[in-house]
Amino acid sequence: MAIKKFAVACYDDEEVLFPAVKKVRHSGYKLHDVYTPFPVHGLDAALGLKETDLHIAGFIYGITGTSTALGFMSWIFTSDWPLVFGGKPYLSLPAFIPITFELTVLFAAVGMVLTFCYLNQIMPGVKKHVFHPRQTDDLFVVAIELNEHVSETEVIDFLKSTGAVETNVQVAESEWWYGRFDKKEPYELA
């Protein structure tokens, strides 16, 4: 639980958003995140986000699936419960390959979905603060994290100068938490 204070700016055009994001990054204020109604091409580059490591996680999950399948089947068919199928030897590798392949895909897919959810902090039943209800509709929302060293009014003025159509200051839980959406949020709006 980390309750923080945010300066929020809303833009109604992505052509205004891009220069604004650039200015915010140059200004040195701490950019919390940008929320857009649809995937905006090039925004990740403009935000300076680093390349995701999700695929490395995927490789590790895949290898885990491969070794689980091969190890488990080899153990069952050679020592735990050897059975003869179609006159084949106990350790008949070609027969194991389809299952190995499927388990590799399954482990990689499920593992990557869960990792993706963790990295983006989304999950069914998990709550995150919504900065503006129209951020999934027609507004591009930029949130800047405030602390005691920066002046609220200065940041708001700066955001207005970048072309924001709406600005405000919010105190919000910055991470994810469990709870129901109809419950009161665990903080008081400023």
Binding site: E51, H55, F59, G86, G87, P94, A95, I97, P98
Partner: protein, 410 residues
């Protein structure tokens, strides 16, 4: 933009030397293999068969990998893929030369089917004389000389036509009115036509006719698809080699590491696809264990060819998947070039193992003759494609998707 390619002296010399090696090998082959004399009857048969089967192996392999370039253009046009436009002249130049390899293939195949004969039977295409063989008589409705001629001539003529047609359309686009999409949509229509031709030839009947009928008693419904996978991944590697070569010569300014990355993805993905199809064919036969089917793999996996069998698995599957998996390696010119050359060689070996065991059995070689003919075909490929590349600008000016190709991010 007008970006012309002129053949560097080194490339021209290399290609001519390789072609001369090929011709010299062929002439020595004629003397020592085709008109061999000796007392050992069996060895004379093996030598004569080796002479023809190596020519068949190489000519079919090179026809199919150049043909893959035509397929890439058609598939990209139909899918409206923009990224290929950045280096479209390369597949066009390769595709426009399908007729050279097609012509050589036709000559070799017809010589084998009609002229090659030892003691009244054909050592490569047993189906030429089906008399008395119940299996071959049963297949004679498809495997007979008129059908063979019809399919071969028809397929090669259509492939050559489409290879040149796509290039002609692309050149016509250069001179078309600015912002005109008429030729673009025309290309889409021709592409749809080509895919039907391609599906009915390369993806089904032609590998049955040319390669699978070498083992005329054996059959596999996966075979053509497997041949296609082999040819396609080698074809993409061939395109990549040309792109990297032109890039190193300071040409193809519009191609960035994004495009190379995507070509690398194709090599990576279709190496896995090849393995998938290869294993599908193998596993079904292994599982059902019917002698008339398993005999094909007996020779290849456990017999004298097992070394090549495992080599193709390592070169065509393990190396691409492990080396090309990470993003930086797909953007590194050295790794992609190295893997592309290995893939082409690995699939050449794959075609080797499709063609050799049937007629040669234990008398196979991977020696001066095989490699010399291979070198000759490489020389011919470099020479013809480089020549075609010099004919026009390397940038596909005026193409509706050119801007998209420039902005491409993989």
């Amino acid at each position: 933009m007008n970006e012309r390619f002129e053949i560097p002296a080194k490339l021209r010399t290399t290609s001519i030397v390789l072609m001369l090696i090929g011709i010299a090998t062929l002439l020595i082959g004629v003397k020592t293999l085709l008109f061999t004399d000796g007392s050992n009857h069996e060895m004379i048969h093996a030598d004569k068969t080796r002479f023809w089967i190596v020519l068949l192996h190489n000519s079919v392999f090179f026809t199919l990998i150049t043909l893959a370039s035509v397929f890439v253009q058609a598939a990209a046009s139909l899918a409206q893929g923009g990224w290929i436009v950045a280096y479209k002249r390369v597949p066009e130049a390769i595709g426009a030369n399908v007729w050279v390899f097609g012509l050589i293939t036709a000559v070799i195949l017809f010589t084998i089917a009609f002229y090659f004969n030892i003691d009244g039977h054909n050592p490569i295409y047993h189906w030429v004389h089906p008399d008395g063989d119940k299996t071959l008589e049963g297949k004679s409705a498809f495997l007979n000389k008129p059908m063979f001629v019809g399919f071969t001539v028809g397929a090669i003529a259509l492939w050559s036509f489409f290879g040149r047609k796509f290039r002609a359309l692309s050149l016509a686009q250069e001179n078309a009115a600015t912002n005109s999409t008429k030729i673009y949509w025309n290309t889409v229509k021709w592409s749809a036509g080509f895919l039907i031709v391609y599906a009915l030839t390369q993806m089904s009947t032609i590998p049955w006719m040319w390669i699978m009928s070498i083992d005329a008693h054996w059959y596999s419904t996966m075979f053509s698809w497997y041949t296609f996978a082999s040819a396609f991944v080698s074809g993409m590697s061939l395109i990549l080699l040309w792109v990297v070569y032109l890039k190193n010569k300071g040409k193809l300014e519009l191609v960035t590491s994004e495009h190379v990355h995507d070509l690398g993805k194709f090599m990576f993905a279709f190496s896995i696809f090849w393995t998938y199809v290869w294993f599908d064919q193998y596993m079904l036969i292994w599982y059902s264990n019917i002698p008339e089917e398993t005999v094909y793999f007996k020779m290849r996996q456990q017999g004298p060819y097992s070394i090549i069998w495992y080599a193709t698995f390592i070169i065509n599957f393990l190396m691409p998947i492990l080396i090309l998996m990470s993003r930086p390696s797909k953007r590194n010119y050295f790794t992609v070039t190295f893997i592309a050359m290995m893939i082409i060689f690995g699939h050449w070996l794959d075609f080797f193992i499709m063609t050799m065991p049937g007629p040669l059995g234990i008398h196979w070689h991977l020696n001066w003759y095989e490699l010399g003919i291979f070198a000759g075909f490489i020389g011919l490929l470099i020479y013809t494609v480089a020549n075609t590349l010099t004919k026009t600008s390397l940038v596909v000016n005026n193409h509706p998707l050119l801007k998209e190709a420039l902005l491409h991010q993989s």
